[in-house]
Symmetry: C2
Subunit: 84 residues, 2 copies
Amino acid sequence: MRFIARVEVSLRPGIADPEGATIERALGALGFDGIASVRAGRSFQVELDATNKEEAQSTAASLADRLLANPIIERYEIEVTELS
Amino acid sequence: MRFIARVEVSLRPGIADPEGATIERALGALGFDGIASVRAGRSFQVELDATNKEEAQSTAASLADRLLANPIIERYEIEVTELS
């Protein structure tokens, strides 16, 4: 079966986020009011074959740990859906 | 009321994605089997004040259009949740 794993990688709370801070300032200059904070991250869509959803989930977690995220400063969330 | 808008920006289908292609090759070298494709994107968490969820959604769409995404080559998805 084929699955899509969406891996969203974001900085851990407390880690400085210069990209987010820059966007926050730019939004103010563009006239957007009421923006409290912006945090920037990365996202990945991985299409993979697995025998079931659990296996797809654990493969995605393993590749996030080993390649997509730096666990010292980043955390990740995974959402797996089956491709019809 | 305060909301969190998650904006996920990804390349449109057909637009070359060298970062995703590089990750795909690296995963093969790391021994991951069954990876069909990898697409890389960016994600943003915007905390904002609005009078209701619809207003938060439309503000997030407007800042995605104007600042976060390049609509020529990218598309975006927005998910708004109310902060308790």
